[in-house]
C-alpha cells in the first residue's frame, strides 16, 4: 500500500512536471500564432459555446473547433485524452436530469466539451511565458502576472524535487517497509519536503535577483498569420450567429 502510494505520487509528479512545461516536438500552425490572438480567440470560442442551448449552434462550434485543430496539425489523440475526463465528468453530474430530458444532458455535455477543446487549443500551443506576456499586454496588473509566473515556476520546482526525492528513496529501499512507517514518517516527510522546497525557492530567488529580478514583458508584432487566424475566429462567430 505505501509502496503503491509512493509510486503513484512519483508518477504523478513526473506527469505534472512534464505537463507544466509545454514541449513541442511537432509544432502545429497554431503554435506560430501570437499568444494574444489565441487568448482572445479562446475567450470568444468559449463564450460562443456556453451561451446557447441550441443544438445546431453547439454542434457548429464543436465541429468548427475540431476542424480547425485538426487542420492546424494538433495531435487530436492527445486532445481527446485531455478532454474526455472532464467531459465525462460533466455528463455524470447532469445524468440524473438527463433521465427526464436527454437532450439537455447531451447539449450540456457538448457545451462543456466544446469549451474544453477551445481551452486546449490554447494550452497545447502556447507557452506559459507567452501567456503571461499576453496578459501583460491586456493590462493585467504586473503584480498579478509576476505572481502567476512565480507560482508556476515554483510548482515546477516542487514537482521536480518531489520526483527526485522519490527516485532517491527507491534507490535505497532495500527492504519492504511497514505500513506503520507511512503514518509515523509520512507527516514528517511532507513537512520536510515543504521546508526543503521553501529553502530551495529562497536560493532560486537569489538567482533571480542576481539577474535583475522578475520581468515579464511583451515584445513582438501581429503577423499576417495572426490575421488569417482571426478571420477564422470571426467567421466562426458569424456562422454561430446565423445558423
Amino acid at each position: 500500500m505505501h509502496e503503491l502510494l509512493e509510486r503513484t505520487i512519483k508518477e504523478a509528479s513526473d506527469y505534472f512536471q512534464n505537463f507544466l512545461i509545454h514541449e513541442y516536438s511537432n509544432k502545429s500552425a497554431l503554435h506560430k500564432i501570437d499568444g494574444r490572438v489565441k487568448l482572445v480567440s479562446t475567450v470568444v470560442f468559449v463564450v460562443l459555446a456556453v451561451s446557447t442551448f441550441s443544438l445546431s449552434k453547439v454542434i457548429t462550434i464543436l465541429l468548427f473547433l475540431l476542424v480547425i485543430s485538426a487542420i492546424a496539425g494538433l495531435n487530436m489523440k492527445r486532445m481527446f485524452e485531455r478532454i474526455w475526463l472532464f467531459t465525462l465528468f460533466s455528463f455524470i453530474v447532469v445524468l440524473p436530469l438527463s433521465v427526464y430530458n436527454p437532450l439537455y444532458g447531451v447539449i450540456f455535455t457538448l457545451r462543456v466539451a466544446a469549451s474544453l477543446i477551445a481551452v486546449q487549443m490554447l494550452i497545447m500551443t502556447t507557452s506559459f511565458a507567452d501567456l503571461c506576456s499576453s496578459l501583460r499586454y491586456f493590462k493585467v496588473p504586473k503584480t498579478f502576472v509576476s505572481a502567476l509566473w512565480i507560482a508556476y515556476r515554483y510548482a515546477i520546482l516542487m514537482f521536480r524535487e518531489l520526483f527526485a526525492i522519490l527516485l532517491a528513496r527507491e534507490s535505497r529501499r532495500v527492504a519492504k517497509g511497514s505500513h506503520m512507517d507511512l503514518w509515523r514518517k509520512g507527516g514528517e516527510a511532507v513537512g520536510l519536503f515543504f521546508l526543503r522546497s521553501f529553502e530551495r525557492a529562497e536560493r532560486v530567488q537569489l538567482a533571480i535577483e542576481a539577474r535583475g529580478g522578475n520581468v515579464v514583458e511583451y515584445r513582438g508584432k501581429i503577423k499576417k498569420l495572426d490575421l488569417i487566424y482571426s478571420t477564422i475566429v470571426g467567421f466562426t462567430a458569424f456562422w454561430w450567429v446565423i445558423i
Binding site: L20, A29, T42, V46, V47, L48, V50, S51, T52, F53, S54, I59, T60, L63, V67, I68, I71, A72, I83, F86, S90, I92, V93, V94, L95, L97, Y104, F108, R111, V112, S115, L116, V119, I123, F128, T143, F144, S146, A147, L148, I150, A151, Y152, Y154, A155, L157, F159, V190, G191, F194, L195, S197, A201, Q205, I228, Y229, F235, T236, W239, V241
Partner: protein, 295 residues
C-alpha cells in the same frame, strides 16, 4: 469545487468577475510595494499541487483540498487571496481545470470567500490554540466557499439543478471533506509553527472599512447573482442576434438561395448551412496551415 465553463449563466459569471476584480484589485493595491517572497511561491505551488486530486460529485461540481484558509493564515488575506487567484488562473490556463468564463466565480469562492473567512476564523479562534484555530478555519472556509458555489450554479439556468439540490449537495460534501481540509490545515500550521515560527508572524490585516466592505460584498453576492440572472435571463448573444432580426430571417438565405427552394425543410437547411460553414472553415484553415509552413 472548480466550476467549469458551461455550468454558469454568463450574467452570473460576469457579475462575479466584477466582484472578484474589485477585491483582488484592492489586494494588489495593498501589495503594490511588496516583493514576492519565496514563501508566496511555495505556498501557491503547494496548494496547486494539492488541488490536483479531485473527484466529481453529481448535482454539484467536484471536491478536493482547497487550501484557501491555509493561504490566508500563512500569507495574510491579501497575499493569500492573490496566491489563490494565481493558482486558479494557472489551473484554468494550463490544465483547463475550471472554466475561463467561470474564473471570476471560482476566484470569488476560493480566493476571496475561503481566504478571508479562513483568515478571520483563524484570528478569532487563535487564542484557543493554533491547531484548533486552523482546523476551524480550514473547515468553515471550504464549506462556505462550497455553499456559495452551490448558490451560483443553482441560480444558473444552464445548470439543470435548482438551489434546493446544489446548495445541500455542495455544502454537505464539502462539510464532510472540510474535516480533512481542516486536519491538513492544522497539521501544516503546527508543523510550521514548530520548525519556522517566523513564517507565522502577524500578517497585516485590512482596515476596518475595507473589511466591512468585503464582508458586505460576500453577503450580498448571491443577491447580485440573482439580479444578474433576472436581467439577462436569456443569453445575451442570442438576444443580440434576435435584436438584429437574424433568427427570423437567417442571413444564409441570401448566401444559399437553394435553401428557399420549396421542399427542403428547415432541418435540411441547417444541415446544409453546417456543411457549407465547415467547408469554409476547412478552406480557411488550409490557407492558414499552408501559410504557417512557409514562415
Amino acid at each position: 469545487m472548480h466550476i467549469p465553463d458551461g455550468y454558469l449563466d454568463l450574467p452570473i459569471a460576469g457579475i462575479l468577475y466584477i466582484l472578484s476584480l474589485v477585491v483582488l484589485g484592492y489586494s494588489i493595491y495593498r501589495l503594490r510595494d511588496e516583493k514576492f517572497t519565496p514563501l508566496f511561491g511555495i505556498v501557491a505551488a503547494a496548494i496547486f499541487a494539492a488541488q490536483m486530486l479531485n473527484w466529481p460529485i453529481p448535482g454539484g461540481t467536484s471536491a478536493h483540498f482547497v487550501g484557501g484558509a491555509l493561504a490566508g493564515i500563512l500569507l495574510g488575506p491579501y497575499a493569500g487571496s492573490l496566491a489563490m487567484a494565481v493558482v486558479l488562473t494557472i489551473q484554468c490556463l494550463v490544465f483547463a481545470d475550471g472554466g475561463i468564463t467561470a474564473l471570476g466565480a471560482n476566484v470569488w469562492n476560493m480566493a476571496v470567500i475561503n481566504v478571508f473567512l479562513g483568515y478571520y476564523a483563524y484570528r478569532a479562534f487563535e487564542r484557543f490554540g493554533k491547531s484548533a484555530a486552523s482546523f476551524i478555519a480550514g473547515w468553515i472556509g471550504i464549506t462556505l466557499a462550497a455553499i456559495f458555489a452551490g448558490i451560483e450554479i443553482g441560480l444558473s439556468t444552464s445548470f439543470g439543478y435548482g438551489l434546493s439540490v446544489t446548495v445541500p449537495v455542495m455544502g454537505l460534501w464539502h462539510g464532510i471533506l472540510g474535516i480533512v481540509e481542516g486536519t491538513i490545515t492544522a497539521g501544516v500550521v503546527s508543523y510550521i509553527a514548530s520548525s519556522r515560527p517566523d513564517i507565522l508572524e502577524e500578517k497585516a490585516a485590512p482596515g476596518k472599512t475595507a473589511l466591512a466592505v468585503i464582508a458586505a460584498m460576500i453577503v450580498v453576492s448571491p443577491l447580485f447573482a440573482y439580479a444578474a440572472e433576472l436581467v439577462g435571463y436569456s443569453e445575451p448573444l442570442e438576444n443580440a442576434a434576435e435584436m438584429l432580426g437574424l433568427s427570423e430571417n437567417p442571413i444564409y438565405e441570401g448566401l444559399l438561395p437553394d435553401y428557399t427552394v420549396p421542399g427542403i425543410d428547415p432541418y435540411t437547411g441547417t444541415l446544409i448551412a453546417g456543411i457549407v460553414g465547415t467547408v469554409i472553415v476547412l478552406a480557411l484553415g488550409y490557407v492558414m496551415a499552408r501559410y504557417a509552413r512557409t514562415t
